[in-house]
Amino acid sequence: MTAPLVVLERLSYQYPRSETLALRDISLEIQRGEFVGLIGPTGAGKTTLCLALNGIVPQFYGGRFFGRALVAGLDTVEQPVHALAARVGMVFEDPETQLTATSVENEIAFALENLRTPRAIIRQRIARVLAVVGLTGLERRHPHELSGGQKQRLAIAAALAVEPAVLVLDEATSQLDPAGAAEVFSVLRALNREQGMTVVMASHAAEELAEFADRLFLLAEGVLVEEGTPDTIYSQVALLEAHQLRPPQVAKTFSLLPEPPVRLPVRLEEGLAALPKQLVGLEPPAVISQRPHAAPMISVEGLHHRFADGTPALTGIDLAFYPGEYALIVGQNGTGKTSLVKHLLRLLEPTQGRVLVLGRDTREWTVGTLARHIGYVAQNPDQQIFNATVMQEIAFALRQLHFPPEEVASRTAEALTVLGLEAVADQHPFSLPKGDRARVIIAAMLVLQPQVIILDEPTTGQDYAGARAILDLSRVLHEQGKTIIVITHQLYLMPGYAERVIVMGKGQVLLDAPLRQAYHALGVLRDTQLSPPQAVLLGQHLCPAVQLLTPEEVAHCLATSQASGGDPC
């Protein structure tokens, strides 16, 4: 047996100015050719562990380092980072932050040039790695002209160009849409299975890791809690949930049965195989009566929008949003979702058609006045933060709109309480975790007491607990009578929150239906490369007419049918 590629021996690490250990007594080995997943909630130490593999921890950050980390025989404390960089390829969460060159081929050549690789070899490597990641033909393209998935594949290609022994990916798919994430996983699978590349991937993507990983390491508070195959780790649903992790929906579904199988299925095909034949005679759920509609709060009539370069963004949108609705807008990147909501705020103006807010054309509103009625939390909340304290950030809009000081104080205090931010009111927003920063922006928007709240990809980059916390807040606001519009790719999160789904594709509305119906419109979802939750696919297999949505519903149906000897649930 060959020596392990990665050996960590009682590795502990403490960041400078931190009182706690980010990693504590981690001992593990990774063999050549393995695909290893690192899972754990935010703050578990996954990123620190990734950075320890190429010496950035501790050589860049400083701090205190205990134990030993060997990668391809090199001690990561003793070897300089540039020597380790030739053996450990790193790909980070946000592809935008990794690309610096002005063309695809220059991006790949950059590291090789720094390693003084001969020109002819650089040319060969560029051609080879572009073929591996499926970007051949785009050599002269500017990286910023690529899609999110293509950018991340380019980052992988740049990492592969130095022919590393191990490829380390830290949440490399969390900011991508489903199609982009699928592209990246497809490339990783090919690299691992066909070329024997060792892959270490920190990720929250449970379904994908169950599919692709050979082994998983579960970290929590810097400690290695459990290691094993995806089958052993993901079938321990209670353990995962105790660490605020989401198991694959297949495993969750079967764990909810009164008598769960000894070994839970963790992959979709295993779950489908474990289901009984399609149940017949089931009745579709009673149609839930729609909320009695008042006059629309927002009407979109024949909306077309064309960007300055002539690219059509929206082509003939007709929609209405009613008071107290919770609507979900889904679709691939570039299908016009954000362009649509920007029209509601008059951040974009129609090329043709019109948008009415409270019966008035948005062209008659100022952006500032519209902002009092419609609150907008952009995809990256960090781009909306610019004050030095949480309190100042929340009070900013009120002060700009010349609210009386006592009202500014009372509204700010109320928003701090509602969002649970009182304890951090005097802290800098960027000192807070990402989930809390999103709450700061939501609070800053709520103080204006808007009737409509738009959340654009609020769960992107959040772990499961963080995503649920934001959505729970949206539900509270909805229950208070606010109209909520959420844009997201993470369909599995939305049952229990949204009531209506608008599916967009190529600048058009492809489907506008109640959530249950929309999630089972598999043809439309596949056309837009959206992945229905596993529970929906299990439900389709089990009893399509019933349109089951969640692991709980599927398990209930399954349990009932088993109890009645296969009769309808």
Partner: protein, 263 residues
């Protein structure tokens, strides 16, 4: 909180070269160089054409800040390269490129030494002597060779000699202490005062170079007397406003602090 003592042996951690320049990560130096390029291209609309340069680029208010963020040597490098590229793109913002680049570098060096700890505080004396020599050459040439009125020269070079005086006096230590103060109000005051010192010394370096080449008329010293301090206050306001926000953000995010940073 995990307070358990690690079982592994503690290793000696080195912040290795290659990724850093004088303890400042290369990425930080590159980022601040880019900031200086942008701010050198942008002229202040209220520019007063005095001293060196045909206009007043915003970067002149940030020479010191870069020194405090990166340390004296990496700061000088970032300022020098940033201003060099900036004036290449927008030559309107300089009279003599070398003078502008040297001034920017010396501004960061002075700021970095002002905020230095440990052995680097010993750099203060030679640097102060260097600036004193510059001032003697600058003022001496005006008075002795060109026959300018002593009072006019003193009034016209107020921002330079006052900066030098503040650099030599205990105000340097006070400024350094306040830059590290937890209360951002002290930081703001320190940034204002520190920018007065660092940009004043940067101006001295550039102005001496320019004066030896252009030798402006003796009457100009009186014209400079009221205008130069106004211009200099503008630099200090830029440094204080931008610097407070940047330092507050850097402290809050806990991002890696360069070895010789002074915040």
């Amino acid at each position: 909180m995990n307070i358990q003592i690690p079982s592994g042996e503690e290793r000696h951690v080195q912040r290795r070269g290659g990724a850093t320049i004088d303890g400042a990560p290369v990425a930080y130096v590159a980022a601040l160089t880019a900031v200086m390029i942008a701010f050198t291209i942008i002229p202040l609309p209220l520019s007063i054409v005095i001293g060196f340069g045909r206009s007043f680029p915003l970067s002149q208010g940030l020479y010191g800040l870069v020194g405090w963020l990166l340390g004296p040597l990496a700061g000088a490098l970032a300022n020098g390269i940033g201003v060099l590229i900036g004036i290449f793109v927008n030559p309107q913002n300089t009279t003599i490129p070398g003078a502008s680049v040297a001034g920017a570098a010396m501004g960061a060096l002075a700021a970095g030494v002002l905020g230095a700890t440990g052995l680097r505080r010993r750099w203060t004396l030679p640097l102060a002597l260097f600036f004193l020599l510059e001032y003697l050459l600058y003022g001496g040439r005006a008075i002795v060779q060109n026959g300018a009125d002593v009072r006019a020269v003193l009034a016209g070079s107020f921002i330079n000699w006052s900066a030098l005086l503040l650099f030599i006096l205990p105000t340097r230590a006070l400024c350094a202490r306040w830059l590290r103060h937890a209360d951002l109000r002290y930081v703001t005051v320190a940034l204002f005062l520190g920018t007065w010192i660092s940009s004043g010394l940067a101006h001295l370096t550039s102005a001496t170079w320019v004066y030896f080449i252009y030798n402006w008329p003796a009457e100009n010293w009186w014209l400079m007397a009221p205008a130069a301090p106004v211009e200099h206050v503008a630099r200090c306001v830029i440094g204080a406003i931008v610097g407070t926000g940047v330092i507050a953000g850097l402290r809050a995010t806990g991002i890696l602090k360069p070895l010789h940073a002074a915040y």
